[in-house]
Protein backbone atom coordinates (compact mmCIF):
# COMPACT_ATOMS: atom_id res chain seq x y z
CA UNK A 1 0.00 0.00 0.00
CA UNK A 2 2.72 2.40 1.01
CA UNK A 3 4.75 1.74 -2.09
CA UNK A 4 1.98 2.50 -4.52
CA UNK A 5 1.71 6.03 -3.30
CA UNK A 6 5.27 6.90 -4.14
CA UNK A 7 5.48 9.03 -7.27
CA UNK A 8 9.20 9.57 -7.29
CA UNK A 9 11.96 7.59 -5.65
CA UNK A 10 15.49 8.93 -5.72
CA UNK A 11 17.82 6.21 -4.56
CA UNK A 12 21.44 6.92 -3.57
CA UNK A 13 21.98 9.17 -6.54
CA UNK A 14 25.47 10.45 -7.20
CA UNK A 15 26.57 12.59 -10.09
CA UNK A 16 30.22 12.95 -10.94
CA UNK A 17 31.67 15.56 -13.25
CA UNK A 18 35.14 15.57 -14.65
CA UNK A 19 36.52 19.01 -14.38
CA UNK A 20 39.65 19.54 -16.34
CA UNK A 21 41.40 22.79 -15.72
CA UNK A 22 41.24 23.66 -19.35
CA UNK A 23 38.55 22.09 -21.41
CA UNK A 24 40.04 19.89 -24.09
CA UNK A 25 37.48 19.52 -26.83
CA UNK A 26 39.52 19.02 -29.94
CA UNK A 27 41.90 16.46 -31.31
CA UNK A 28 44.83 18.81 -31.73
CA UNK A 29 44.95 19.82 -28.10
CA UNK A 30 44.20 16.30 -26.98
CA UNK A 31 47.24 14.97 -28.80
CA UNK A 32 49.49 17.73 -27.56
CA UNK A 33 48.36 17.24 -23.98
CA UNK A 34 48.53 13.48 -24.35
CA UNK A 35 52.14 13.65 -25.44
CA UNK A 36 53.01 16.14 -22.73
CA UNK A 37 51.07 13.99 -20.24
CA UNK A 38 49.00 16.93 -19.13
CA UNK A 39 45.65 15.22 -19.39
CA UNK A 40 44.55 15.45 -15.81
CA UNK A 41 41.04 15.54 -14.61
CA UNK A 42 39.66 16.69 -11.36
CA UNK A 43 36.70 14.78 -10.09
CA UNK A 44 33.82 16.71 -8.72
CA UNK A 45 30.71 15.22 -7.18
CA UNK A 46 27.78 17.54 -7.81
CA UNK A 47 25.49 15.10 -6.03
CA UNK A 48 26.45 12.45 -3.56
CA UNK A 49 24.27 9.78 -2.04
CA UNK A 50 21.01 11.66 -2.42
CA UNK A 51 18.04 9.60 -1.29
CA UNK A 52 14.45 10.63 -0.82
CA UNK A 53 10.92 9.69 -1.79
CA UNK A 54 8.06 11.86 -2.85
CA UNK A 55 4.55 10.61 -2.32
CA UNK A 56 1.86 11.22 -4.84
CA UNK A 57 0.28 14.62 -4.43
CA UNK A 58 3.08 15.87 -2.25
CA UNK A 59 4.70 19.23 -2.90
CA UNK A 60 8.40 19.05 -2.31
CA UNK A 61 10.54 22.14 -2.13
CA UNK A 62 14.25 21.92 -2.84
CA UNK A 63 16.32 24.62 -1.21
CA UNK A 64 20.02 25.22 -0.97
CA UNK A 65 22.65 27.84 -1.52
CA UNK A 66 24.15 28.51 -4.93
CA UNK A 67 26.03 25.52 -6.24
CA UNK A 68 24.40 23.08 -3.84
CA UNK A 69 23.34 20.84 -6.71
CA UNK A 70 19.68 21.78 -7.09
CA UNK A 71 19.66 22.15 -10.85
CA UNK A 72 21.72 19.02 -11.30
CA UNK A 73 19.20 17.12 -9.19
CA UNK A 74 16.31 18.40 -11.29
CA UNK A 75 18.09 17.44 -14.49
CA UNK A 76 18.71 13.95 -13.16
CA UNK A 77 15.04 13.61 -12.22
CA UNK A 78 13.90 14.94 -15.60
CA UNK A 79 16.08 12.29 -17.28
CA UNK A 80 18.35 14.76 -19.05
CA UNK A 81 21.39 13.68 -17.06
CA UNK A 82 22.08 10.08 -16.25
CA UNK A 83 23.35 9.66 -12.69
CA UNK A 84 26.78 8.15 -12.15
CA UNK A 85 25.47 6.16 -9.24
CA UNK A 86 22.08 5.13 -7.98
CA UNK A 87 18.76 5.37 -9.72
CA UNK A 88 15.68 7.50 -10.08
CA UNK A 89 12.29 5.86 -10.38
CA UNK A 90 9.35 7.91 -11.51
CA UNK A 91 5.75 7.03 -11.99
CA UNK A 92 3.78 8.81 -14.66
CA UNK A 93 4.46 11.75 -16.86
CA UNK A 94 6.98 14.37 -15.84
CA UNK A 95 6.60 17.87 -17.19
CA UNK A 96 9.50 20.17 -16.47
CA UNK A 97 8.48 23.80 -16.73
CA UNK A 98 12.06 24.96 -17.10
CA UNK A 99 13.18 27.44 -19.71
CA UNK A 100 10.03 27.42 -21.73
CA UNK A 101 10.34 27.20 -25.45
CA UNK A 102 13.90 25.96 -25.42
CA UNK A 103 13.02 23.45 -28.13
CA UNK A 104 11.64 25.99 -30.56
CA UNK A 105 13.12 26.43 -33.97
CA UNK A 106 13.44 30.11 -34.78
CA UNK A 107 12.80 29.75 -38.48
CA UNK A 108 9.62 27.81 -37.92
CA UNK A 109 6.25 29.49 -37.47
CA UNK A 110 4.39 29.23 -34.19
CA UNK A 111 2.00 26.67 -35.63
CA UNK A 112 4.81 24.45 -36.85
CA UNK A 113 6.58 24.82 -33.55
CA UNK A 114 3.53 23.56 -31.71
CA UNK A 115 3.94 20.26 -33.52
CA UNK A 116 7.72 20.21 -33.10
CA UNK A 117 7.73 21.07 -29.42
CA UNK A 118 4.77 18.78 -28.78
CA UNK A 119 6.61 15.89 -30.41
CA UNK A 120 9.68 16.69 -28.30
CA UNK A 121 7.55 16.31 -25.21
CA UNK A 122 6.37 12.96 -26.53
CA UNK A 123 2.84 13.77 -27.62
CA UNK A 124 1.26 12.09 -30.61
CA UNK A 125 0.23 13.91 -33.76
CA UNK A 126 -3.47 13.26 -33.29
CA UNK A 127 -3.31 14.58 -29.77
CA UNK A 128 -1.63 17.81 -30.81
CA UNK A 129 -4.06 18.31 -33.67
CA UNK A 130 -7.00 17.89 -31.35
CA UNK A 131 -5.55 20.38 -28.88
CA UNK A 132 -4.21 22.83 -31.44
CA UNK A 133 -6.96 25.43 -31.11
CA UNK A 134 -6.81 25.26 -27.36
CA UNK A 135 -3.08 26.01 -27.41
CA UNK A 136 -3.46 28.94 -29.77
CA UNK A 137 -6.29 30.34 -27.71
CA UNK A 138 -4.48 29.99 -24.41
CA UNK A 139 -1.30 31.54 -25.73
CA UNK A 140 -3.29 34.57 -27.00
CA UNK A 141 -1.11 34.72 -30.08
CA UNK A 142 -3.96 35.01 -32.59
CA UNK A 143 -2.68 35.66 -36.12
CA UNK A 144 0.92 35.63 -34.95
CA UNK A 145 0.77 31.86 -34.88
CA UNK A 146 1.63 31.90 -38.61
CA UNK A 147 4.70 34.10 -38.09
CA UNK A 148 8.19 32.62 -37.64
CA UNK A 149 9.16 32.44 -33.99
CA UNK A 150 12.29 34.52 -34.58
CA UNK A 151 10.01 37.54 -34.87
CA UNK A 152 8.32 36.85 -31.52
CA UNK A 153 8.97 38.84 -28.39
CA UNK A 154 10.39 36.84 -25.51
CA UNK A 155 7.01 37.10 -23.77
CA UNK A 156 5.20 35.64 -26.77
CA UNK A 157 7.68 32.81 -26.96
CA UNK A 158 7.28 31.99 -23.29
CA UNK A 159 3.50 32.14 -23.59
CA UNK A 160 3.51 29.65 -26.43
CA UNK A 161 5.95 27.38 -24.59
CA UNK A 162 3.85 27.48 -21.47
CA UNK A 163 0.67 26.70 -23.39
CA UNK A 164 2.20 23.63 -25.00
CA UNK A 165 3.97 22.33 -21.92
CA UNK A 166 0.86 22.50 -19.74
CA UNK A 167 -1.31 20.82 -22.32
CA UNK A 168 -1.66 17.60 -20.40
CA UNK A 169 -2.10 17.14 -16.74
CA UNK A 170 1.29 15.84 -15.66
CA UNK A 171 1.79 13.44 -12.80
CA UNK A 172 4.95 15.19 -11.71
CA UNK A 173 5.49 18.86 -12.30
CA UNK A 174 8.93 20.41 -12.01
CA UNK A 175 9.04 24.13 -11.38
CA UNK A 176 12.18 26.22 -11.19
CA UNK A 177 11.45 29.50 -9.38
CA UNK A 178 8.00 30.87 -9.88
CA UNK A 179 7.09 31.39 -13.46
CA UNK A 180 6.92 34.92 -14.61
CA UNK A 181 5.51 34.55 -18.06
CA UNK A 182 4.38 37.46 -20.14
CA UNK A 183 2.46 40.42 -18.81
CA UNK A 184 0.55 40.66 -15.54
CA UNK A 185 -2.63 39.36 -17.07
CA UNK A 186 -1.06 36.28 -18.57
CA UNK A 187 0.87 35.65 -15.38
CA UNK A 188 -2.42 35.51 -13.52
CA UNK A 189 -3.77 33.09 -16.08
CA UNK A 190 -0.71 30.85 -15.90
CA UNK A 191 -0.76 30.87 -12.12
CA UNK A 192 -4.41 29.87 -12.23
CA UNK A 193 -3.54 27.01 -14.56
CA UNK A 194 -0.78 25.80 -12.27
CA UNK A 195 -3.10 26.17 -9.31
CA UNK A 196 -5.69 24.02 -11.05
CA UNK A 197 -3.02 21.39 -11.55
CA UNK A 198 -2.21 21.59 -7.87
CA UNK A 199 -5.87 21.05 -7.08
CA UNK A 200 -5.96 17.97 -9.25
CA UNK A 201 -3.41 16.41 -6.98
CA UNK A 202 -0.28 16.64 -9.10
CA UNK A 203 3.07 15.95 -7.50
CA UNK A 204 5.24 19.03 -7.48
CA UNK A 205 8.97 19.56 -7.26
CA UNK A 206 9.77 23.17 -6.66
CA UNK A 207 13.15 24.84 -6.62
CA UNK A 208 13.55 28.36 -5.38
CA UNK A 209 15.82 30.71 -3.52
CA UNK A 210 12.84 32.43 -2.00
CA UNK A 211 11.80 30.81 1.25
CA UNK A 212 8.47 32.61 1.17
CA UNK A 213 7.48 30.95 -2.09
CA UNK A 214 8.62 27.56 -0.90
CA UNK A 215 6.64 27.91 2.31
CA UNK A 216 3.57 28.98 0.39
CA UNK A 217 3.62 26.19 -2.18
CA UNK A 218 5.23 23.18 -0.52
CA UNK A 219 4.45 20.97 2.39
CA UNK A 220 7.70 19.03 2.48
CA UNK A 221 11.20 20.17 1.69
CA UNK A 222 14.77 18.97 1.40
CA UNK A 223 17.88 21.02 1.74
CA UNK A 224 21.01 20.38 -0.25
CA UNK A 225 24.52 21.41 0.63
CA UNK A 226 27.55 20.47 -1.45
CA UNK A 227 25.51 17.81 -3.18
CA UNK A 228 24.20 16.01 -0.13
CA UNK A 229 20.87 16.18 1.62
CA UNK A 230 21.38 17.77 5.00
CA UNK A 231 17.76 18.23 5.98
CA UNK A 232 14.59 16.50 4.94
CA UNK A 233 11.14 16.87 6.39
CA UNK A 234 8.39 19.33 7.04
CA UNK A 235 8.78 22.53 5.09
CA UNK A 236 8.81 24.73 8.22
CA UNK A 237 11.60 22.74 9.87
CA UNK A 238 13.73 22.79 6.76
CA UNK A 239 13.04 26.47 6.26
CA UNK A 240 14.32 27.14 9.77
CA UNK A 241 17.51 25.21 9.13
CA UNK A 242 17.96 27.01 5.84
CA UNK A 243 17.48 30.32 7.57
CA UNK A 244 20.06 29.38 10.15
CA UNK A 245 22.50 28.48 7.42
CA UNK A 246 21.91 31.76 5.75
CA UNK A 247 22.47 33.58 9.02
CA UNK A 248 25.63 31.59 9.65
CA UNK A 249 26.90 32.46 6.24
CA UNK A 250 26.15 36.10 6.82
CA UNK A 251 27.86 36.02 10.20
CA UNK A 252 30.82 34.26 8.74
CA UNK A 253 31.08 36.97 6.16
CA UNK A 254 30.71 39.61 8.86
CA UNK A 255 33.38 37.96 10.96
CA UNK A 256 35.70 37.77 7.99
CA UNK A 257 35.09 41.38 7.22
CA UNK A 258 35.71 42.37 10.82
CA UNK A 259 38.91 40.36 10.86
CA UNK A 260 40.06 41.95 7.68
CA UNK A 261 39.22 45.41 9.02
CA UNK A 262 41.18 44.69 12.17
CA UNK A 263 44.21 43.59 10.24
CA UNK A 264 44.06 46.62 8.05
CA UNK A 265 43.75 48.87 11.05
CA UNK A 266 46.72 47.24 12.70
CA UNK A 267 48.77 47.61 9.58
CA UNK A 268 47.85 51.25 9.35
CA UNK A 269 48.76 51.74 12.97
CA UNK A 270 52.12 50.07 12.52
CA UNK A 271 53.03 52.14 9.50
CA UNK A 272 51.97 55.28 11.33
CA UNK A 273 54.23 54.35 14.24
CA UNK A 274 57.07 53.73 11.86
CA UNK A 275 56.62 57.15 10.37
CA UNK A 276 56.59 58.67 13.86
CA UNK A 277 59.79 56.86 14.79
CA UNK A 278 61.46 58.15 11.71
Amino acid sequence: MEKQDIALAVDHVGMKFNLSKEKVDNLKEYFIKFIKKELTYQEFWALKDVTFDVKRGEHLGIVGLNGAGKSTLLKVIAGVLKPTEGSVKTKGKIVPLLELGAGFDKQYTGAENIYLYGSLLGYSKEFITSKFDEIVEFSELGEFIEVPVKNYSSGMRARLGFSIATLVKPDILILDEVLSVGDAQFRKKSEAKIQSMFDQGVTVLFVSHSLEQVKRICDKAIMLEHGTVIAHGDVMDVANIYNEKLQQKKQKKKRMRRKLNQELNEQAKRSREKQKNN
Binding site: N26, Y30, A78, P96, L98, Y108, Y123
Partner: protein, 264 residues
Protein backbone atom coordinates in the same frame (compact mmCIF):
# COMPACT_ATOMS: atom_id res chain seq x y z
CA UNK B 1 15.32 -4.36 -26.15
CA UNK B 2 11.56 -4.24 -25.79
CA UNK B 3 11.72 -0.93 -23.99
CA UNK B 4 13.86 0.45 -26.80
CA UNK B 5 11.22 -0.46 -29.34
CA UNK B 6 8.47 1.03 -27.20
CA UNK B 7 10.48 4.16 -26.76
CA UNK B 8 11.03 4.38 -30.49
CA UNK B 9 7.32 4.07 -31.12
CA UNK B 10 6.63 6.83 -28.66
CA UNK B 11 9.05 9.17 -30.38
CA UNK B 12 8.30 8.14 -33.96
CA UNK B 13 6.30 11.31 -34.46
CA UNK B 14 9.26 13.34 -33.26
CA UNK B 15 11.43 11.68 -35.88
CA UNK B 16 9.07 12.61 -38.70
CA UNK B 17 8.77 16.13 -37.30
CA UNK B 18 12.56 16.55 -37.21
CA UNK B 19 12.96 15.22 -40.75
CA UNK B 20 10.15 17.45 -41.97
CA UNK B 21 11.72 20.44 -40.28
CA UNK B 22 15.12 19.87 -41.89
CA UNK B 23 13.69 19.44 -45.36
CA UNK B 24 11.28 22.35 -45.07
CA UNK B 25 13.77 24.80 -43.63
CA UNK B 26 16.53 23.93 -46.03
CA UNK B 27 14.70 25.50 -48.91
CA UNK B 28 12.29 27.88 -47.30
CA UNK B 29 14.47 30.92 -47.47
CA UNK B 30 15.52 30.63 -51.07
CA UNK B 31 13.25 31.86 -53.82
CA UNK B 32 13.84 28.84 -56.00
CA UNK B 33 12.90 26.57 -53.12
CA UNK B 34 13.20 22.87 -53.70
CA UNK B 35 14.39 23.50 -57.27
CA UNK B 36 17.82 24.19 -55.88
CA UNK B 37 18.07 20.49 -55.14
CA UNK B 38 17.57 19.89 -58.84
CA UNK B 39 19.40 22.86 -60.27
CA UNK B 40 22.59 22.40 -58.30
CA UNK B 41 23.51 18.91 -59.61
CA UNK B 42 22.57 19.93 -63.15
CA UNK B 43 24.93 22.88 -63.07
CA UNK B 44 27.84 21.00 -61.51
CA UNK B 45 27.36 18.12 -63.90
CA UNK B 46 27.55 20.51 -66.84
CA UNK B 47 30.79 21.92 -65.50
CA UNK B 48 32.28 18.49 -64.81
CA UNK B 49 31.22 17.21 -68.21
CA UNK B 50 32.88 20.11 -69.97
CA UNK B 51 36.10 19.79 -67.99
CA UNK B 52 36.53 16.04 -67.72
CA UNK B 53 34.79 15.17 -70.98
CA UNK B 54 37.46 17.35 -72.60
CA UNK B 55 40.21 15.46 -70.77
CA UNK B 56 38.92 12.13 -71.94
CA UNK B 57 39.01 13.21 -75.53
CA UNK B 58 36.37 10.68 -76.57
CA UNK B 59 32.93 11.95 -77.31
CA UNK B 60 30.44 10.03 -75.23
CA UNK B 61 26.88 11.38 -75.13
CA UNK B 62 26.07 9.38 -72.00
CA UNK B 63 28.98 10.70 -69.96
CA UNK B 64 26.83 13.31 -68.11
CA UNK B 65 24.64 10.51 -66.77
CA UNK B 66 27.75 8.67 -65.64
CA UNK B 67 28.90 11.74 -63.70
CA UNK B 68 25.45 12.52 -62.35
CA UNK B 69 24.81 9.05 -60.99
CA UNK B 70 28.08 9.08 -59.08
CA UNK B 71 27.89 12.63 -57.91
CA UNK B 72 24.37 12.47 -56.52
CA UNK B 73 25.11 9.36 -54.52
CA UNK B 74 28.39 10.72 -53.24
CA UNK B 75 26.91 14.05 -52.20
CA UNK B 76 24.36 12.17 -50.12
CA UNK B 77 27.20 10.34 -48.39
CA UNK B 78 29.32 13.41 -47.73
CA UNK B 79 26.41 15.71 -46.88
CA UNK B 80 24.76 13.13 -44.65
CA UNK B 81 27.86 12.25 -42.67
CA UNK B 82 28.87 15.88 -42.24
CA UNK B 83 25.41 16.91 -41.05
CA UNK B 84 25.18 13.92 -38.72
CA UNK B 85 28.55 14.77 -37.23
CA UNK B 86 27.25 18.20 -36.35
CA UNK B 87 23.81 17.02 -35.24
CA UNK B 88 24.57 16.54 -31.55
CA UNK B 89 26.09 19.95 -31.18
CA UNK B 90 23.45 21.85 -33.14
CA UNK B 91 20.75 20.31 -30.98
CA UNK B 92 22.63 20.67 -27.71
CA UNK B 93 20.29 23.32 -26.33
CA UNK B 94 17.34 21.00 -26.78
CA UNK B 95 19.22 18.06 -25.37
CA UNK B 96 20.02 19.89 -22.19
CA UNK B 97 16.39 20.60 -21.38
CA UNK B 98 14.17 17.82 -22.58
CA UNK B 99 14.76 14.11 -22.53
CA UNK B 100 14.62 12.62 -26.00
CA UNK B 101 16.38 9.47 -27.19
CA UNK B 102 19.60 10.97 -28.47
CA UNK B 103 19.97 8.84 -31.57
CA UNK B 104 16.95 10.71 -32.92
CA UNK B 105 19.15 13.64 -33.88
CA UNK B 106 21.72 11.94 -36.16
CA UNK B 107 19.06 9.58 -37.49
CA UNK B 108 16.70 12.43 -38.38
CA UNK B 109 19.54 14.37 -39.99
CA UNK B 110 20.53 11.46 -42.19
CA UNK B 111 16.93 10.65 -43.07
CA UNK B 112 16.28 14.23 -44.15
CA UNK B 113 19.42 14.19 -46.27
CA UNK B 114 18.19 10.96 -47.79
CA UNK B 115 14.82 12.48 -48.62
CA UNK B 116 16.51 15.45 -50.30
CA UNK B 117 18.74 13.01 -52.17
CA UNK B 118 15.72 11.03 -53.40
CA UNK B 119 14.14 14.24 -54.65
CA UNK B 120 17.33 15.11 -56.49
CA UNK B 121 17.17 11.77 -58.31
CA UNK B 122 14.51 13.41 -60.50
CA UNK B 123 17.40 15.04 -62.34
CA UNK B 124 18.89 11.65 -63.05
CA UNK B 125 15.57 10.39 -64.37
CA UNK B 126 15.32 13.42 -66.64
CA UNK B 127 18.87 13.02 -67.91
CA UNK B 128 18.38 9.31 -68.58
CA UNK B 129 15.34 10.06 -70.69
CA UNK B 130 17.06 12.73 -72.75
CA UNK B 131 20.32 10.85 -73.29
CA UNK B 132 20.70 7.52 -75.09
CA UNK B 133 20.86 5.25 -72.06
CA UNK B 134 20.07 1.60 -72.05
CA UNK B 135 17.35 1.42 -69.40
CA UNK B 136 15.80 -1.91 -68.56
CA UNK B 137 14.34 -3.74 -65.59
CA UNK B 138 17.66 -3.49 -63.74
CA UNK B 139 16.63 0.03 -62.81
CA UNK B 140 14.41 -1.36 -60.08
CA UNK B 141 17.39 -3.07 -58.46
CA UNK B 142 18.81 0.39 -57.73
CA UNK B 143 16.95 0.13 -54.42
CA UNK B 144 19.67 -2.25 -53.22
CA UNK B 145 22.71 0.05 -53.59
CA UNK B 146 20.63 2.94 -52.25
CA UNK B 147 19.80 0.99 -49.11
CA UNK B 148 23.42 -0.06 -48.67
CA UNK B 149 24.51 3.55 -49.03
CA UNK B 150 21.97 4.63 -46.46
CA UNK B 151 23.42 2.27 -43.87
CA UNK B 152 27.01 3.15 -44.68
CA UNK B 153 26.11 6.79 -44.15
CA UNK B 154 24.16 6.03 -40.98
CA UNK B 155 26.99 4.04 -39.41
CA UNK B 156 29.64 6.58 -40.33
CA UNK B 157 27.39 9.40 -39.19
CA UNK B 158 26.78 7.83 -35.77
CA UNK B 159 30.51 7.27 -35.23
CA UNK B 160 31.29 10.83 -36.27
CA UNK B 161 28.47 12.30 -34.19
CA UNK B 162 29.86 10.58 -31.12
CA UNK B 163 33.46 11.51 -31.82
CA UNK B 164 32.67 15.10 -32.59
CA UNK B 165 31.19 15.70 -29.16
CA UNK B 166 34.64 15.08 -27.74
CA UNK B 167 36.79 16.44 -30.55
CA UNK B 168 35.36 19.40 -32.34
CA UNK B 169 38.04 19.83 -34.95
CA UNK B 170 37.15 16.45 -36.36
CA UNK B 171 34.75 18.28 -38.64
CA UNK B 172 37.62 19.76 -40.65
CA UNK B 173 39.54 16.52 -40.71
CA UNK B 174 36.49 14.71 -42.01
CA UNK B 175 36.07 17.38 -44.68
CA UNK B 176 39.54 16.52 -45.96
CA UNK B 177 38.88 12.80 -45.77
CA UNK B 178 35.63 13.06 -47.75
CA UNK B 179 37.46 14.95 -50.48
CA UNK B 180 39.98 12.13 -50.57
CA UNK B 181 37.21 9.56 -50.78
CA UNK B 182 35.63 11.56 -53.56
CA UNK B 183 38.74 11.37 -55.72
CA UNK B 184 38.89 7.63 -55.15
CA UNK B 185 35.26 7.06 -56.06
CA UNK B 186 35.45 7.42 -59.81
CA UNK B 187 32.87 10.14 -59.97
CA UNK B 188 34.09 12.09 -62.96
CA UNK B 189 36.47 9.62 -64.57
CA UNK B 190 36.36 6.03 -65.69
CA UNK B 191 39.15 3.90 -64.38
CA UNK B 192 39.08 1.97 -67.65
CA UNK B 193 40.19 5.09 -69.51
CA UNK B 194 43.37 5.54 -67.57
CA UNK B 195 45.84 3.44 -69.47
CA UNK B 196 46.15 -0.08 -68.12
CA UNK B 197 49.92 -0.25 -68.02
CA UNK B 198 50.65 2.64 -65.70
CA UNK B 199 51.62 1.88 -62.14
CA UNK B 200 49.46 4.66 -60.70
CA UNK B 201 46.44 3.19 -62.44
CA UNK B 202 46.85 -0.18 -60.82
CA UNK B 203 47.36 1.52 -57.47
CA UNK B 204 44.20 3.56 -57.92
CA UNK B 205 42.39 0.43 -59.01
CA UNK B 206 43.33 -1.30 -55.76
CA UNK B 207 42.23 1.65 -53.67
CA UNK B 208 38.94 1.83 -55.51
CA UNK B 209 38.35 -1.87 -55.05
CA UNK B 210 38.58 -1.38 -51.31
CA UNK B 211 36.55 1.81 -51.27
CA UNK B 212 33.03 0.86 -50.16
CA UNK B 213 31.60 4.12 -51.47
CA UNK B 214 32.90 3.30 -54.94
CA UNK B 215 31.53 -0.22 -54.66
CA UNK B 216 28.06 1.21 -54.09
CA UNK B 217 28.40 3.79 -56.85
CA UNK B 218 29.58 1.06 -59.22
CA UNK B 219 26.53 -1.06 -58.51
CA UNK B 220 24.22 1.92 -58.72
CA UNK B 221 25.60 2.61 -62.18
CA UNK B 222 25.10 -1.02 -63.17
CA UNK B 223 21.42 -0.55 -62.39
CA UNK B 224 20.65 2.89 -63.79
CA UNK B 225 23.40 3.56 -66.33
CA UNK B 226 24.60 0.33 -67.86
CA UNK B 227 21.46 -1.72 -67.33
CA UNK B 228 23.40 -4.86 -66.43
CA UNK B 229 23.53 -7.13 -63.42
CA UNK B 230 25.36 -5.88 -60.36
CA UNK B 231 28.95 -6.76 -59.54
CA UNK B 232 28.42 -9.34 -56.82
CA UNK B 233 31.86 -9.01 -55.28
CA UNK B 234 31.31 -5.25 -54.84
CA UNK B 235 27.79 -5.84 -53.58
CA UNK B 236 28.92 -8.37 -51.01
CA UNK B 237 31.78 -6.19 -49.85
CA UNK B 238 29.68 -3.02 -49.53
CA UNK B 239 26.95 -4.89 -47.64
CA UNK B 240 29.48 -6.16 -45.11
CA UNK B 241 30.96 -2.70 -44.67
CA UNK B 242 27.48 -1.24 -44.20
CA UNK B 243 26.57 -3.77 -41.53
CA UNK B 244 29.89 -3.42 -39.71
CA UNK B 245 29.75 0.39 -39.75
CA UNK B 246 26.15 0.48 -38.55
CA UNK B 247 26.86 -1.94 -35.71
CA UNK B 248 29.97 -0.04 -34.63
CA UNK B 249 28.11 3.25 -34.95
CA UNK B 250 25.21 2.13 -32.79
CA UNK B 251 27.52 0.53 -30.24
CA UNK B 252 29.79 3.55 -29.88
CA UNK B 253 26.89 5.95 -29.79
CA UNK B 254 24.97 4.11 -27.11
CA UNK B 255 28.06 3.54 -25.06
CA UNK B 256 29.00 7.20 -24.98
CA UNK B 257 25.64 8.96 -25.15
CA UNK B 258 25.34 9.58 -21.42
CA UNK B 259 28.56 11.58 -21.49
CA UNK B 260 27.39 13.88 -24.28
CA UNK B 261 25.80 16.47 -22.05
CA UNK B 262 28.84 16.68 -19.82
CA UNK B 263 30.98 17.60 -22.81
CA UNK B 264 28.78 19.97 -24.74
Amino acid sequence: MKTYIQNFKKYRFLLTELVKKDVKLKYRRSKLGIFWTLLEPILTTIVLTIVFGGFRGKSDPTFPVYILSGRLLFSFFSGGTKAAARSIRTNSSMMRKVYVPKYMYPLATILSNFVIFLISLIVLVGASIIMPININWHVFLAVVPLTVMFFITLGTGMILATAEVFFRDLEYLWGVITTLIMYCSGIFYKIEDMGQAKRTTSMLQTIMDWNPVYAVIKNFRCCVYLGVAMDYRALFYSCIVAVVLTVIGIYVFFKKQDEFILNL
